[in-house]
Symmetry: C2
Subunit: 396 residues, 2 copies
């Protein structure tokens, strides 16, 4: 299709749905499968843009929900959009704000027109529906924007009659998501420089997923996403939904699995044909001293790291593990676990900063290895180099 986004598939893994590609946007291109760090309020917490870029991140995500509340999408538009505002020169994706509005807010009303909730900033009533979600994202100016979808909570924890109510609620959500898709397409004011992605809903009900897929892919869109997963359900259910839906999405459009996830979830989704991921795990865990490594997670507050002179993960190219002064010559040892532990004990900002950088690098290194494994037809090598993919104990 003509429009603001071009997707080129470079390689396919024989006998599987996994593929590598390049997505080109008005603010540059990114390689797929891609991992997008989350910059919720217009900043990936604690990281300067050049530090984000140092991890190999090529595209980041901002949350429309948070930005419409503060500083306000119109203020951002007057600043020239999010790229200008936050100083990130590469591609940006915004979500529609729907997920946060439904799940994080004091919701007053949900109906066919959208959701009304209380602002966490000043308690005022905020309405978000398909038209307003498009307006907000047009104002924020991201390269990729998301349809406003109805995203009910996961089925887990719902029992008995609740379970039937939940089934009805899921079905309602699928219908609404389709109606709202049409209204999003209709009201999207910048189709020439912002690519609108549709979202498949349906929870863990594969029939509903199938219906949603059929309805949403009737819209000729530059990309499609699977929404409503990683909202509390078991990892096994995520995998079965992704395996059922992803291969049915249009082959020549980027496929985005929203809000996922751990390393094994990502690898399983790539196998099913997914091209794009976002997740708060690297930064959220980073702030609480939890570091990702190829063999599992490590809590740097642990007393066993008191005198540990190794970096988080020897051989990791991130500036936490390899040092932050590439031009300074011989000393390239990175920051030790002992130093990181000290920073967390002393409640120093540099602790969250360094572990966040490492964790984002961890996911970018995984994506790099995934792309290489596809290009080289060497999928099993991934499982050799990433023990965390094999060990269920390291998971979740």
């Amino acid at each position: 299709m003509a429009g603001p986004l071009h997707f080129n598939i470079d390689h396919r893994l024989p006998g599987a749905n996994a593929r590598t590609g390049t997505v080109t946007t008005p603010h540059g291109s990114f390689s797929t499968p891609a991992f997008m760090p989350v910059g919720t309020k217009g900043t990936v917490k604690g990281l300067l843009p050049h530090v984000i870029a140092s991890t190999g991140s090529e595209i980041i995500l901002n949350n429309a929900y948070h930005l419409l509340l503060r500083p306000g999408d119109e203020l951002v538009a007057r600043r020239g959009g999010m790229h200008e505002f936050m100083g990130w020169t590469g591609p940006i994706l915004t979500d529609s704000g729907g997920y946060q509005a439904f799940s994080m807010s004091d919701v007053n009303r949900i109906d066919d027109d959208g959701v009304t909730f209380k602002s966490i900033i000043d308690g005022s009533a905020i309405h978000l529906g398909p038209e307003r979600a498009m307006e907000v994202q047009n104002n924020l100016g991201a390269d990729i924007i998301m349809a406003f979808d109805d995203c009910p909570p996961s089925v887990d924890g719902v029992h008995g009659t609740g379970r039937e109510d939940h089934a009805r609620r899921l079905e309602e959500a699928v219908g609404r998501t389709t109606d709202w898709m049409a209204r999003c397409v209709e009201s999207h004011a910048r189709p020439d420089d912002q690519a609108l992605f549709g979202i498949i809903q349906g929870g863990t009900d594969l029939e509903l997923r199938s219906r949603s897929l059929e309805e949403i892919t009737r819209f000729d869109l530059p990309g499609y996403a699977i929404g409503g997963v990683a909202v509390g359900e078991e990892p096994g259910l995520i995998h079965s939904v992704v395996r059922a839906v992803a291969p049915q999405l249009p082959e020549d459009r980027p496929r985005y699995l929203m809000g996922v996830g751990y390393e094994r979830d990502i690898v399983a989704a790539v196998e099913a044909g997914i091209d794009m991921f976002d997740c708060v795990l690297p930064t959220r865990n980073g702030r609480s001293a939890s570091a990702f490594t190829r063999s599992g997670r490590m809590n740097l507050r642990n007393a066993r790291f008191r005198e540990d002179d190794l970096p988080i993960e020897p051989g990791c190219p991130c500036l936490a593990c390899s040092g932050d002064q590439p031009l300074s010559g011989d000393r390239q040892r990175g920051f030790s676990r002992a130093y990181l532990r000290h920073l967390f004990q002393a409640e120093e900002m540099l602790g969250p900063i360094l572990v966040s950088v490492h964790n984002i690098q961890h996911f970018q290194s995984l994506m790099l290895d995934i792309r290489r494994a596809i290009r080289d037809d060497a999928w099993p090598s991934l499982f050799r180099d990433w023990p965390v993919l094999e060990d269920p104990a390291q998971k979740g």
Copy 2:
């Protein structure tokens, strides 16, 4: 003198005491007059080492007091010292811990053997005297270490009989500082790779200052400092002490004014012959959204910056004002006041980070201009380029 530090004076301002020079240490050299950012607990809060270096900072300060409490000086020694521990490859100076022990602690006892105070970490009783202060600093491994001095509070706010008590206390401090100087020289275990600076005490009493100067300079030391200023007294009193003491310090050794200060205090002290400064103002103010500019301070939380697209100070070369991606091509606009205000409103770490970087750059730009004004015999140009030096309302 032979030893770990070499000081070369490059230029002198005709008819004044101001000079430029170069101090060479085992971890590289720095130009004087020099400003040292403060990395209290082994990190300049929120700033990666390469970000500190980007401001032109060549030497930083660590606080022995905080580091001996956590993570402990012996642990740091086992890690290879502070350079290795925190990843700062350039020169480091540590203070002795005395000032914090006297002023910040729950003090149990002060006597001729030092000070006993309660640990802020676990409430345990900690003793710090000249021998232990040397041991701590030998363990931390800085290039320049400071004598353990007796540093009583300033005279301000002391009246009547209290004033006489204070005079006796000041006199006692001068005597003790001299006694402790001898014990520091005696117990300093690494004189070949750590330069021990002496400290002149005497409060605002110029006769006592003169006595302290005479006694301390009898020790042949690689550098000398003026202590016990900027501890609460009026700025005018700082200036008169510095003007009286600095020119009497050995000409061929670096002179360090501890804990000072605002721009005008620094310029006045350079005129009196001071070569080195440290101060927490740039980082402490940065964390509370207070930015230094050549024409005064600016609080970035202020509503008037809501839609202000200018950087903090147009023309400033710091990465907050000029952008953090020097290789990214045409977009080099820096981060706007509107964005910085948003970051502080949203309580995002990146606000304190960016304003701290700018504020350190502000002081390094001042030092650069001071050195240029001395080299070019163009002292008055400083006052033209730095309006803040002229305007008393912008002060303090």
